[in-house]
Symmetry: C2
Subunit: 243 residues, 2 copies
């Protein structure tokens, strides 16, 4: 597949300790797939600058686009903006446009634009802002890296703002067939089918449900007619299965 590739960097101790179950990765994966961008790698790292810098520099070199999630709030453990600036070797400071956004929001909410909130107006040199329609504090884009909040409602709003600016590929299409047989009984047929359709991705995802073995067979690609043809062949192999 020649679609553009993206990577995601999730920043946050709370995911790695098991306290919070990540929701942003699953959301972003679905949105990118619809947009024809292939999510090719995800990394999750703790709130440690060296670890963020190393992961970010690896991902932005390997992929067309990188999305980060988390660590852009006002507290001492929010170090993502500084880490991104360090990764790019650029300066970072409170910027007038970001400060104005924060000031207007604080005024409207009757809040004080204190030192902590001003931290959220610190933007690496050369970055453009990503709008935050939920709580004002902006994300930003620097090079091919989009830096976004970890709170899911804000993350999702920022993705909605960024995605239309990206060049997508043909949408990645998929069809699914659930076969209530053990994978070991259908693997040879699937392998032959995959050989007949080398332009498609044919995945088998097994499950155990109330003691019964089954597998979801997912056929993916960008050519709907080819996927239809492969699904027809697949359904003929397993006529008892349900799409």
């Amino acid at each position: 597949m020649t679609n553009p590739t993206a990577a995601m960097l999730v920043i946050g101790d709370e995911i790695l300790t098991g306290r919070t179950r990540d929701a942003n990765m699953h959301f972003l994966a679905g949105e990118l797939t619809k947009h024809g961008i292939r999510l090719a790698e995800v990394r999750i790292v703790p709130d440690v600058q060296d670890r963020i810098v190393a992961a970010l520099n690896a991902l932005r070199a390997d992929h067309d686009t990188v999305f980060t999630s988390g660590g852009i709030g006002p507290t001492h453990d929010d170090i993502t903006a500084d880490a991104v600036a360090a990764a790019f070797g650029t300066g970072i400071d409170v910027r007038d446009d970001a400060r104005a956004i924060m000031q207007a929001y604080c005024d409207s909410m009757g809040r004080d634009l204190n030192e902590a909130r001003l931290r959220m107006a610190r933007i690496p040199d050369g970055a453009t802002l990503i709008e935050n329609p939920v709580s004002a504090a902006p994300g930003f884009t620097l090079g091919n890296v989009h830096v976004m909040a970890g709170v899911p409602s804000i993350f999702q709003a920022m993705v909605a703002g960024v995605l239309p600016t990206l060049t997508g590929g043909d949408p990645l299409l998929s069809q699914n067939l659930t076969v209530m047989r053990a994978e070991g009984d259908i693997a040879n047929e699937l392998r032959r089918l995959a050989e007949r359709f080398p332009d498609l991705s044919i995945g088998s995802y097994p499950f155990v449900r109330e003691g019964a073995y089954g597998a979801n067979i997912v056929i993916r690609g960008t050519d709907g007619a080819r996927i239809d043809a492969a699904m027809t062949a697949l359904s003929a192999l397993f006529p008892e299965a349900a799409a």
Copy 2:
């Protein structure tokens, strides 16, 4: 914190396309934390051998232990065992002990130990087997890498088998206080608290709930008395909050 560190490598297109929401990472994170092992990094890569090999070699060099999830079934897209062998530069073939396990299971289920199922008895040279009490096909341990199934019920059973064999550290303890105030209003107090307790990790995780702003403040460490002391100080700062 000097606890041993672990990394996790999730292998599977189904996570990256957004079709499936990963459950194993969240489970493993919680189990490791209880066992005093710090999950320090997670990577998610597609079913592509080069990508698996590169990620695995990076993670096993950087961390005491690595857990992988996914890609050890009987179908053509299950390439994890071969990728692990390639990462270690060792051979891989059907092994007698693994074949005997598969044969006994197939006999008991009235199934044929066909070519596809025999693939699940392919074990890299020098590995030890990890028991699969759900569907027999074993995982394996090679060096500091534990290779486990992606089906959550099997993954969880394998983790239960492997964890007691690992050297843990002092359990990682945590306490939580939910403060219904915007992070920007409490950030300065939290920073000072973090400076008073440099041996603890003090994290702030904001949320928006029905239009109201709040944050969960999580204090983590291995010394329960120190965490108690920090919680007492935290509660005094925000007497209206609920633990």
